[in-house]
């Protein structure tokens, strides 16, 4: 993945976007409220004032007639008064009678509704202005218009809108930056935890998550993780002690048993170096030799079980080195080639360049040798065993294929488990732990062992993920 794409998909980026959106939304909501409560409310108040004034003028007219109305309008629209106030009284013919508006606007219906007009107030005005007004028809066909110049309100509206715009921009920037910072902070703390857990998974149980000392949620998480780790470490150490002492307690009597049998055999040999002796002595010797072989079987099984348990516990990961799989395959192929030839089997090797993985050379070699042992033991009648190492994408595929009877699909998962042996193979020597050990070693190396149909025969595929620089 490229750095840009990783950044794009990263948590910091998502935090930045989320925060920017959140900030912008709250800023827009706040701005909207300010806008509505200032601009809209002002306009409504103006509308109410105009309505009251119109009603007042209509009453003046009704009570005291046209001359009084003319007088009031002249008075109110005199140059000394509030220039924002707009008045106009026209005769039924439309002729201008009084007021500071040049002529009756065509759009103005005299029905008392709130109007917004754009017009030139007098001949001197070169710019049209916005006027909020109400018009009313008086008795006798006279029409009266009262309004307010909304210029001030317009500039207020523009100022507020501008402020909202700037605020929104700043909110977006601050939000993005803050989100990014927060994301990076959270990520760095999570990253610490995940880096430490990775090392623990790799077998280093002494690792602990560092605390920042602030006692925040992350510290509490780290504390709980550390407590859990301490517990796991205790359990693992316990397991180690158990396997070690079990090993000791079982190996010591086995050593004595084996010694006794060997001593008895040596005494017999000292008595009859040429293998002669009575029939009873020959029978005794046979029993002793069988017993020795059984001790050897027990030891083999025991060693494999301990090795599997230890591989599964991941304790050996600390001893990992860089191992070139190609070199390992070549070495083991060379080791097994004469044996294969003796079994009238051709060992075909196909290597596809070096493929280095972090690993335990001895365990990998043992696992691979188990696979080759199995192939030779069960798959030799096909006349050919193929061992291959391919590199595809980020993977290295190590495979051992034979042309023997293979393993039925239903039993393939089963044989990777401990002690499972197929009925047909019970008569052959072996503990049934060879494949399980290989599977445990595969797990230890973060790789996977798969059994496939080689049509005919068995193909064991071992899938390794390669490091980017491998």
């Amino acid at each position: 993945m490229s750095a840009a794409r990783r950044w794009w998909r990263g948590a910091s980026f998502r935090f930045a976007v989320l925060y920017a959106l959140l900030f912008a939304t709250s800023m827009a909501a706040l701005g909207g409220f300010v806008y509505w409560s200032s601009v809209d409310v002002i306009e409504r108040q103006v509308g109410d004032t105009v309505q009251a004034e119109l009603r007042g003028l209509a009453e003046q007219y009704a009570e005291r007639g046209l001359p009084r109305l003319l007088e009031v309008i002249e008075q109110r629209s005199a140059p000394g008064g509030d220039t924002d106030n707009v008045y106009l009284l026209v005769a039924p013919s439309g002729q201008h009678l009084a007021g500071n508006l040049r002529s009756w606007p065509e759009a103005a219906q005299p029905d008392g509704e709130w109007l917004r007009l754009r017009l030139f107030r007098t001949l001197e005005h070169t710019e049209p202005v916005t006027v909020g007004a109400r018009a009313f028809e008086l008795r006798g066909g006279f029409r009266l218009l009262v309004g307010r110049d909304m210029g001030a309100r317009e500039s207020l509206r523009r100022t507020i809108l501008e402020a909202i715009g700037w605020g929104l921009g700043a909110a977006l920037l601050l939000g993005a930056f803050g989100g990014w910072l927060l994301g990076r902070y959270l990520l760095s703390r999570v990253e610490t935890v995940s880096r430490i857990s990775r090392r623990i998974v790799d077998g280093d149980l002494s690792q602990r998550v560092p605390l920042s000392g602030t006692g925040d949620a992350f510290d509490r998480l780290a504390e709980n993780l550390n407590r859990m780790l301490a517990r796991i470490e205790t359990l693992m150490t316990g397991m180690r002690v158990v396997t070690d002492s079990l090993a000791h307690d079982l190996r010591s009597p086995l050593t004595r048993l084996r010694s006794r049998i060997e001593m008895a055999l040596r005494e017999q040999e000292a008595l009859h170096p040429d293998g002669s002796g009575t029939g009873q002595e020959a029978a005794d010797r046979q029993v002793l030799e069988q017993a020795l072989a059984e001790v050897e079987t027990i030891r083999g099984t025991f060693d494999s079980l301990i090795a599997i348990a230890e591989a599964e516990a991941g304790l050996t990961r600390v001893a990992f080195d860089r191992v070139d799989l190609a070199e390992l395959v070549a070495e083991l192929a060379e080791l097994y080639e004469p044996l294969a030839e003796e079994s009238h089997c051709r060992l075909r090797v196909a290597l596809d360049g070096p493929a280095a993985v972090p690993g335990h050379r001895q365990l990998l070699a043992q696992a691979l040798s188990n696979l080759l042992d199995n192939a030779l033991k069960y798959g030799c009648q096909g006349g050919e065993i193929a061992i291959a190492l391919e590199r595809t994408g980020g993977e290295a595929l190590l495979s051992v294929s034979d042309r023997g009877p293979g393993i039925p699909a239903a039993a393939r998962e089963e044989v990777l488990k401990r002690f499972v042996r197929l009925d047909e193979s019970r008569s052959l020597p072996g503990s049934g732990l060879g494949l399980s050990l290989a599977a445990a070693v595969a797990t230890l190396h973060d790789s996977r062992l798969e059994l496939q149909d080689n049509a005919p025969g068995l193909k064991v595929v071992w899938r390794f993920a390669l490091a980017a620089d491998g």
């Binding site: 070690d244 090993a247 000791h248 190996r251 010591s252 086995l254 050593t255 004595r256 048993l257 084996r258 010694s259 006794r260 060997e262 001593m263 040596r266 001790v295 030891r299 083999g300 060693d303 301990i306 090795a307 230890e310 050996t316 600390v318 001893a319 070495e331 060379e334 080791l335 097994y336 004469p338 044996l339 030839e341 003796e342 335990h360 001895q362 365990l363 070699a365 043992q366 040798s369 188990n370 042992d373 030779l376 033991k377 072996g430 060879g434």
Partner: protein
């Protein structure tokens, strides 16, 4: 050879002493780590068989103390801990070989006898020979009765190992370790077929066989059977 056995299990120690004595060695025994360290640093042994888990002073601690005191007696660690990494730990601490219990006495004997040889054979040798078989390590050439024998690289290494231990019995696991550097039990007879191939080249066309099979144990390269 004078051999010191440091082993807390009395029966195993007795058995070892008896077997080594029968094989013609002089044996002393120590039942704990402190006594073992005392004996090993006091007199000159050809080899020490050292148990890993000992009362009073752990086997590895004994070994480290010996090495710190510049006592270079070859040490074979005898351990009930079979793990591969334990083996590495033992060798790192200054051990020369590592055998896991339960062991076959023949395997242990072969390894002890190989140990003492190791100390004397450290000096750089450029030629190895047994009877009329000669190996030139610099020219990487092998001749028998003056006749050149063509060997594969691995066969050369195998023969070199046998020559370096000529007259001694070497086991299959010793060969897998010494020639291939793998420390697991060969399940099948992989090693035997390598030896029999080598035998074809070394012995077939010559009157006197040099590679002998030691029944149930391994092989020996020597002039006489």
């Amino acid at each position: 050879m004078r051999i010191l056995i440091v082993e807390d299990d009395a029966k195993t120690a007795d058995y070892l002493a008896k077997g080594l004595d029968e094989a013609g060695h002089t044996v002393d025994c120590a039942a704990d780590g402190r006594e073992g360290l005392f004996l090993a640093s006091g007199s000159d042994y050809d080899a020490v068989v050292l148990d890993r888990m000992l009362p009073k002073l752990d086997g590895l601690a004994v070994l480290q103390a010996l090495r710190a005191a510049q006592i270079q007696t070859p040490v074979l660690i005898l351990s009930a801990v079979g793990h591969v990494d334990e083996r590495v730990k033992g060798l790192k601490a200054g051990g020369d070989d590592y055998v896991v219990k339960p062991f076959a006495f023949s395997e242990l004997l072969a390894r002890i006898e190989a140990l003492s040889r190791r100390r004397t054979a450290v000096a750089a040798q450029t030629r190895l020979n047994v009877a009329d078989l000669e190996m030139d390590l610099l020219a990487r050439r092998v001749t028998r009765s003056g006749k050149a024998i063509d060997l594969q690289p691995r066969e050369f290494k195998l023969l070199e190992y046998l020559l370096r231990h000529s007259g001694q019995t070497v086991t299959r696991t010793m060969l897998l370790e010494g020639v291939w550097d793998y420390h697991f039990d060969p399940q099948t007879n992989v090693i035997d077929v390598h030896v029999s191939r080598l035998r074809q080249k070394i012995d077939r066309d010559f009157g006197l066989p040099l590679i002998h099979t030691v029944r149930g144990v391994g092989y020996r390269l020597a002039e006489e059977a």
